[in-house]
Symmetry: C2
Subunit: 344 residues, 2 copies
Amino acid sequence: MTAEWIVPVILSGGSGTRLWPRSRVELPKPFLPLLGDDTLFEATLARCADERHFAAPMIVTGARHLPHVEAQAPAEAELIIEPEGKNTAPAIALAAQRLPGDAVMLVCPSDHHIADEGAFLDAARAAARLAREGWLVAFGIEPDGPETGFGYIRRGEAIPGGFRIASFVEKPDLATAERFLDEGGYSWNSGLFAFRADRYLQELARHRPAMADKVRLAVIEGHGDGRKFFPEMHAFSQIEAESVDYAVMEETDRAAMVPAAMGWSDIGNWDALFDARARDASGNCALGPAELVDCRNVMVDSDGPRVSVIGLENVVVVVHDGEVLVTTREGAQQVGKLTGATSQ
Amino acid sequence: MTAEWIVPVILSGGSGTRLWPRSRVELPKPFLPLLGDDTLFEATLARCADERHFAAPMIVTGARHLPHVEAQAPAEAELIIEPEGKNTAPAIALAAQRLPGDAVMLVCPSDHHIADEGAFLDAARAAARLAREGWLVAFGIEPDGPETGFGYIRRGEAIPGGFRIASFVEKPDLATAERFLDEGGYSWNSGLFAFRADRYLQELARHRPAMADKVRLAVIEGHGDGRKFFPEMHAFSQIEAESVDYAVMEETDRAAMVPAAMGWSDIGNWDALFDARARDASGNCALGPAELVDCRNVMVDSDGPRVSVIGLENVVVVVHDGEVLVTTREGAQQVGKLTGATSQ
């Protein structure tokens, strides 16, 4: 590993409810080819595969999804298998414990879409430069609308290559989100981060000492099996689940952000997936056999049965594995609460 | 058969496209239990089963649907199997040829719904009385909206028990249909008729002599097999297909109508079927497993797969035999033109 390398740390999991019935608990979003032939997980790995910039990836996952990870990850990847899900702060800490202190980690959720890979690489390199200087770096996405489904980052003073973070803001209501857009200086918190491994562990030890201890113990007492590493179950189970945002980013006084305009989407629901897919002149988009008559902005996603749609606008129809979902684009946010999604 | 009896003549066929994918060419609308446990065909027979008023029914059908007819018709029914479909005028003529001249025929399509059976019986008896006097009688349905999918009947002078028919009007455009409602005196032409058998044949011989001849020949040279009767194929094939409306009702100067307010529907498309089904307080209606969230006036009809719908209004979702249809209520009229419906 050279000093310039970046270690991709891919966080892989998901509950499989928001893109139900296409995503399932047993086969959640990262492992599905939702955009093109690659799964989102494969595309995430491919974005970080250029050997001029990236070391071999480290993938943190759970036992449940390990078969998908093993099938889709490259041979050189190290896999860390969490005994149970504890949110992102402990997952990142496991990876940090397994890396040299001066390694720069690029933390990537495995179920996001990034349309502009060149812009992603530029942002990753900018973030890595700041991380090398000791900053804990978030990627801030320029908002293109008053989204209420994301947390926001408020920019502070400029620093070379980015900005200090003035504050993190929880998912706002619509009026607040609109105000953020009017005021400017706010970005979406994308869930992508860059840290030096030692700096992350230092900040964690300072702000969440119990978590840091338990993770260290789980790694010391864990065991390897080929490219797989299994943290010790008992120590890990005592950790209180918490996100990296809460446990580290909001606590540290060295939080920075790099602005990233890279066609990012978290593919957080069917509406977001629709936005990321190519459409015809009527705004329609069909995967699988479909006939659309007098439709505008209708997306069909079928795993086999023909779907015939007449006269609809801004609607998504999904047919998968014996389940049929029909929702307005607006209603897509409620898919995760459907009986079909929650009773899997 | 007493002089007061009415002979139900049930016309049974259908192309199976307008209620696709539930109806199919091989299993069209009459033979499906679309409203309750009985099929529309069974319900049609049950409406005419009271022995105080009705003789055994005569059913005119085609070879293709004979298995369904035999399975669903009562043992005492006579079945006339047309060698090919020639529209309604020849079908009714076949039945008339097989009946005594003074028999009063009540011609019933087998795929309509009538909610008020008492009102139907009253109208049938009123029509039969006029028919016995030599009138050719149509049932006129009081319009409850400017429907453009039906032909209209304009009432003429009152006669005892009904009205003369002033004229028949082809399916109107919306403006014309609205004018009809404003003016009054217009009824929908329901496709239900009553004739004495001899009067029907007399009028047919006068206005369509070639058709009358060929039907007579087809019956003379036809053959029976138990309760089934097969008209001779060659003679029947030479008949020019035509509806009873054109061939007889519009031609005769003895056309009459009885007004009928009996909750009639031709169940002509999914929208009409929706109207005939019971709904919940939100106007929704679900047959088969369904979850409806934030929906109003949504109908789901599924033969197995769960259908989850979010945020829609005035939409019909049908899942049947591996086909999925999603249409606005307005768009339901276009279902018959879908590839799935026309390529069966």
